[in-house]
Symmetry: C5
Subunit: 328 residues, 5 copies
Amino acid sequence: MAILRGMIVDCAVYEHGKRRAGDLTLDQAGAACRSNEGFVWLGLVEPSAEELESIAREFHLHELAVEDAVKAQQRPKVELFGETLLVVVKTVTHPDPAHGIEVGELLVFVNADFIITVRHGDGELSSVRERVESQPERLAHGTGVVLYAILDHVVDGYGDVAQTIDGEIQAVEREVFSAERTNPAEQIYKLEREVLDLYRAVAPLLEAVDEIVEGRFDAIPKELHEYFRDVHDHLRRVTGRVNGFRELLSSALQANLTQVSVRQNEDMRKISAWVAIAAVPTMVAGIYGMNFDHMPELHWRYGYFTVLALIALVCFALYRRFKRVGWL
Amino acid sequence: MAILRGMIVDCAVYEHGKRRAGDLTLDQAGAACRSNEGFVWLGLVEPSAEELESIAREFHLHELAVEDAVKAQQRPKVELFGETLLVVVKTVTHPDPAHGIEVGELLVFVNADFIITVRHGDGELSSVRERVESQPERLAHGTGVVLYAILDHVVDGYGDVAQTIDGEIQAVEREVFSAERTNPAEQIYKLEREVLDLYRAVAPLLEAVDEIVEGRFDAIPKELHEYFRDVHDHLRRVTGRVNGFRELLSSALQANLTQVSVRQNEDMRKISAWVAIAAVPTMVAGIYGMNFDHMPELHWRYGYFTVLALIALVCFALYRRFKRVGWL
Amino acid sequence: MAILRGMIVDCAVYEHGKRRAGDLTLDQAGAACRSNEGFVWLGLVEPSAEELESIAREFHLHELAVEDAVKAQQRPKVELFGETLLVVVKTVTHPDPAHGIEVGELLVFVNADFIITVRHGDGELSSVRERVESQPERLAHGTGVVLYAILDHVVDGYGDVAQTIDGEIQAVEREVFSAERTNPAEQIYKLEREVLDLYRAVAPLLEAVDEIVEGRFDAIPKELHEYFRDVHDHLRRVTGRVNGFRELLSSALQANLTQVSVRQNEDMRKISAWVAIAAVPTMVAGIYGMNFDHMPELHWRYGYFTVLALIALVCFALYRRFKRVGWL
Amino acid sequence: MAILRGMIVDCAVYEHGKRRAGDLTLDQAGAACRSNEGFVWLGLVEPSAEELESIAREFHLHELAVEDAVKAQQRPKVELFGETLLVVVKTVTHPDPAHGIEVGELLVFVNADFIITVRHGDGELSSVRERVESQPERLAHGTGVVLYAILDHVVDGYGDVAQTIDGEIQAVEREVFSAERTNPAEQIYKLEREVLDLYRAVAPLLEAVDEIVEGRFDAIPKELHEYFRDVHDHLRRVTGRVNGFRELLSSALQANLTQVSVRQNEDMRKISAWVAIAAVPTMVAGIYGMNFDHMPELHWRYGYFTVLALIALVCFALYRRFKRVGWL
Amino acid sequence: MAILRGMIVDCAVYEHGKRRAGDLTLDQAGAACRSNEGFVWLGLVEPSAEELESIAREFHLHELAVEDAVKAQQRPKVELFGETLLVVVKTVTHPDPAHGIEVGELLVFVNADFIITVRHGDGELSSVRERVESQPERLAHGTGVVLYAILDHVVDGYGDVAQTIDGEIQAVEREVFSAERTNPAEQIYKLEREVLDLYRAVAPLLEAVDEIVEGRFDAIPKELHEYFRDVHDHLRRVTGRVNGFRELLSSALQANLTQVSVRQNEDMRKISAWVAIAAVPTMVAGIYGMNFDHMPELHWRYGYFTVLALIALVCFALYRRFKRVGWL
């Protein structure tokens, strides 16, 4: 059993909403489950296949459910295996703007006697455990309260990430419409990828939690449905925002194309206008550089200065005109 | 109780459709509720968490519902907590074209005995109170009438904002297709954002009001369903318009790209055409600027003037031609 | 009652499918309704609020339904108020290609005893009245037949407008792909707006007529359902076409961007190619315009003509080449 | 009755799966129907209104159904009029790639006693008749078998057209991504129109056949449902392909814009690069064409040749560089 | 019967989860089926029509089902013909990045007595047979287990292909946003085609497996539903990813247009800026190349060098400025 210690984060029995003192071995936890006194909350982190096997034997988890827990590449879902509910959720964090969002996975096996949480990647639950332990009167309702607290925590995380992404989108919008010569196409595209990842975490969970709210699972007592409805509501809010993000980013990509091409065309127009102005003296000078025997202007006393003045005048007139029509 | 005064906008008891004279303290209001004589309408504005706590205690509001009311970041929804209905709506105003729409939130706790409105941001209800108080025979039907009046008022506000946005879209369309050298990409994008905000206020409410119309909540007496159906109808009209806006703006963004690139290309073409015309005299002058010993034209009496005339002729011909094909 | 005369277009009692001779005053019409002999068909055009009030009193119309009829900004719908059905439809005409489609509104109050039509904007019904009066055996089925005839007429109008728009779309397509230097972006966008207006008239009606076909309203006798199913079918056909229009116009806008940018780039390429050709003589002439003491070519007898010939040759070769690769 | 002969393609009585010898007049066909011996299959092609009238009288067809059959502008549908089923399908052929697909219409009136097919446009049914007549044991099941054979034939036609369009799309894709200087925007757009036409023929029929499969019509015996399910399946396959076509064509239009603009920009870049190279000799030659008294280079013995060599060197260096960065 | 040998891959009887030793002829297999001892698993590969005929006779397969098996152009589906279930799935492999995905077809006829697999194209099942034969306790549940194992295998294949495509999409994204002068429009488009093919294999199967999970087919015993739910879950995950791919690729195409046009415009701007710089010496040199009698600068001692220095200075200043604004 020694090998199991590393992946067990915390393991405790809760009776009448209170944590029984002392740490438990896995056998003791299994025994406590079967004794029908309170329930066990076992927290695991990235267990190996064999570790999960031995836990599955102890708590009679379904073979397919365990397979899901090892691979950690599941869609968010709620599924019933016999008496035990398997809830799979994605945890989403956004630790560093440069790297985008990070998606972890959390699997929760829950029935009246135990709740086992299996965590892959980010998504610490110790704060959740502290919070539920601080409300013994609530915790007395059983494992469903713990499941609610976990979902509430995860969905709050979605909200935070959505908030962060909202900020990033606004930053990118400012860049798109700024006078600066920037092309944030890559940022917009990366945001689209992030939003898609978030969507794929949130949207299937919405459906899954809906099934809980509708009371399909006896494992969740009826008096808790209002709490899960609250989670469902937050999920819908996040989904609504995420859908809005997708629409905005798609428009931003198109608007960026317009802005970038406008700015680049302005540069080209400016350069071309200057070249056009420079073509005038070249042309005039070329004419008076011709070698005809009879070119009366060449012999005028102030011919040269007159021509210089003429050139300057025409160039200035062109400059004024180009300025007025907005080409310079 | 003194601290509560600031956030209470108005508080009154209504019996048989008539307002009982005099202001109420919170205790009196609570007592009036329990006495089953008429109903209380309590109007709050941005209450603090503690203020809401004490109101929740007085009127037995559900913990989760109160949490929603403090945060004021809910989706529009209708939810039943025990006997009490919680209706959350977004109020939308468009005070200033430069700043886009502003979204507030209004939470309504309503059952047979009381109606409590909690307002965040804009969305004054005093005009609603005046209107319902002026129709005592209607008001005698109870709190449902007040809820209807509030929803009707809020949804009328949506209609007004949709009207304003419609005007702005038409203005931006004119700009897109005007001969002016403008690029309203940013305005179009901002309108898309506004329309999305409006959509997110309107669409979930549609669903929520639908549940009222279908008679899922006993708190709304059957004789009022026709009134809520009317609200529902207005909401659908607004939703229809908003969906139209989204489609139009998406097309406008694309059309704008076309127009902007057409106009910029026209400028470039014009400049290039002038440069091409100027290349002709430069070329001819270059040839007669060569220093060959034997260039018979150079010694002709009118060689210079002939060449000048030739250049002018060619340039004029080019100008005519470019004008005809639309390049100038 | 005199004030009412202006807005009443026609008012008659129909017994056993036949029109009773003579015009009716409003009181007579009301009395006829109550007598259960046949039914009354009252046609109004843009009545004022007070006029509608008095009619509502005479025929016991619901307050909310009357409100709808005054404002004339309803979504198409079918609603039951007590015994009376309110049918709201949009009438669509396309009088002038330059101004796009015009949308009017038609409200029909119908029960076993009367049918009241309130018209706003275009949408003359006299032809409908003539047609139903010419088929007394059908008209004997009661007010439902009149409602069918009206809907059939309105939906035929949709079909005509869809036909016109189809023609306009084909015209704009030809323009997009023509060799002409046109940019029909604005026409495409205007067509999108028209199609959207048509869609918003047609789509909600589809839903509403579906409810009639499914037999939700007792006011429409069962033997007429096949007729309304026929109307429903025509509506679906129009909706299908309108959806096709939206897709086509969206593609046309994109294709137009391609065509316009292709044509403009072709112009630029042509101008640039000519400028490139002109650069050759300028360059060569420049070289022989240098003032070095020792430039043997300058002293050759036919140096000048050789160079001229060379320049002509190179330019012609370039011209041939540019022609071949499609740049000229 | 003579006038009817032209539009009757074939008319026969089938008893126990076998065709009774000899041609029938319309009266004989009507009589055969009423005799309950086998069934009549009457095939018409583009009958006039009066011709259809007399047939409707003979076979008691519903007035609205007959109206549909005359106009031939129906949506695909299955509708029950009394005992008789009216099935409307679009026949689609693609005779000539230059002209796109052609849509005809086929109306089938079918009940236990007769099956009347009314054809508008293409869509010969003689091959279907041959096939069913060659399987008497199947044909003995009655008119439903004929209806199945017709639908099977029509839906096979959809599959063929989808196949042809698939080939055309692949051809256009090759053109989009070829190195050739082509702009297949118009072909893509025309394919979009064709696909839309095909979609409008196929999609509503899917729904209609679904109703048959679900057994809503007693006219189709239960033992044939599997056959209609097979038709339904083929329809879904075609619909799936058609939806794929729409998506592909929309992407192809966008990709084409990219390719066309890339190719055109490459041309411009190439021309500009050559102009830039030609600017160097012009510039250098200009400098040595100046008329200053003191320009030592001019008097060097090999000044001219040195400068020529220099110019050639610089131009060659530029050429190499432009080649390397991909501008030439 | 000899002709059948080629297309039979493997044929065995399974009793109590164990394979009965020895190969079977087709007659023996048919006899084994009828004896109700265990079940037969017959594996075919691309059988001809006659071969299938004889198998259909032996196992009483439905005519339409057999027709499907010959053509091998079916949509994925699950259909019941009498007692026998026909499951059609597409096998997808991605053997070579240059050629995209390859789609094969697998038809499974399954009832309590036999399971017949008909394979077209890729999709070897020998590994599946090995796996199920290694778990006799599971295999004892009957043919449903084999069907599950096949579906599990096929859906795992989808997951692998989705993984490969994901990698390809990321590669193309890197190319889009790289500094290199590449235009991966064609790759993006080809990926869109692949994703569409994958979608058309996956999406209809999702629906079909859903019907199994919901327990519509008695052929699949209830204790296996959890296993099929697992397959369903994997399918949904793949579908989710595929939908994400479609959205990403559509954005990538748009982003690529932006990037390509930005890079090409940068090239043009650079070339034009150099041409503009070169225009300055040309212009100045032209002026001092004029042949006026009185041009004092020409006679200055250091006039030439001063002008050269001036030209160099101006060109350098321009170069600095263009560098600063990002044009070079």
